[in-house]
Homo-oligomer: 121 residues x 2
DNA sequence: CTGAATCCACGTCGATACTG
DNA sequence: CAGTATCGACGTGGATTCAG
């Protein structure tokens, strides 16, 4: 399985999603954009609801996709840093747009929170 | 289960994702934005890789989230149309940013396509 | 034509324990 | 500290069938 199924789907939107979909990727990128550099534990602190397993996996995918760069310091205990690559930097406008919409519409969020959609078995 | 777990997560990016994550939602929105109005079958044609079941489900979620509006014509056979609501319209810049990145980076896509990441059991 | 319902194989993800 | 390995419960989504 390729990390993000990277291939030209013919649809520009789909092409972008191949990189930033994945449950928490956009949020991770958002935080790295905001802080430039983040350690693994710092990301964990900023995303308390994301399990360590998931965080590691998403970061690893972002890394093999060339979006973030991991820098490991061979000290004890180990210290790692994550930052955007040049390629990853190009995603800033996308994350920015997502962030902006989110902050402009906090009031509209939650008003529909009672609608129920189940997929019962 | 709420359709998109709509609630203020405190993170603007996360708030947006609650609406447009979901495997195919962004692509669906992209096509509706581009065509203003689309029938169910037209969306199916534009998204051949999405099963009818999934398309219906994603559309239903977008509808209960107040992003798209469904209009049903009581003719036989039934005819339905999907279009953006005013609320949904506000997402246009977000989809636009995603689309733009995708079309600007078609060349960078696929070059890493051989990296393998497995989650074997 | 537009869905909803059912079945079922498969993937995903949290919890836990372990390594360097 | 920063991951990886394993397990097990759960969710997801395709195929198919049914209905208005």
């Amino acid at each position: 399985m390729v990390s993000a199924y990277n291939c030209d789907s013919g649809c520009p939107v789909q092409n972008t999603l191949q990189f930033i979909s994945g449950k928490w990727k956009s949020v991770i990128l958002y935080h790295i954009f905001k802080n430039n550099v983040l350690r693994f534990s710092e990301l964990q602190a900023k995303l308390p609801y994301v399990s360590k397993r998931m965080l590691a996996k998403q970061l690893s995918e972002l890394e093999t996709d060339g979006i973030v760069a991991k820098r490991v310091y061979p000290v004890i205990p180990v210290k790692t840093e994550y930052r955007m690559t040049t390629f990853g930097e190009s995603l800033r406008p996308v994350i920015k747009a997502i962030e902006q919409w989110g902050s402009e519409h906090t009031d509209e969020i939650g008003v529909l929170a009672n609608t129920q959609i189940q997929e019962n078995h």
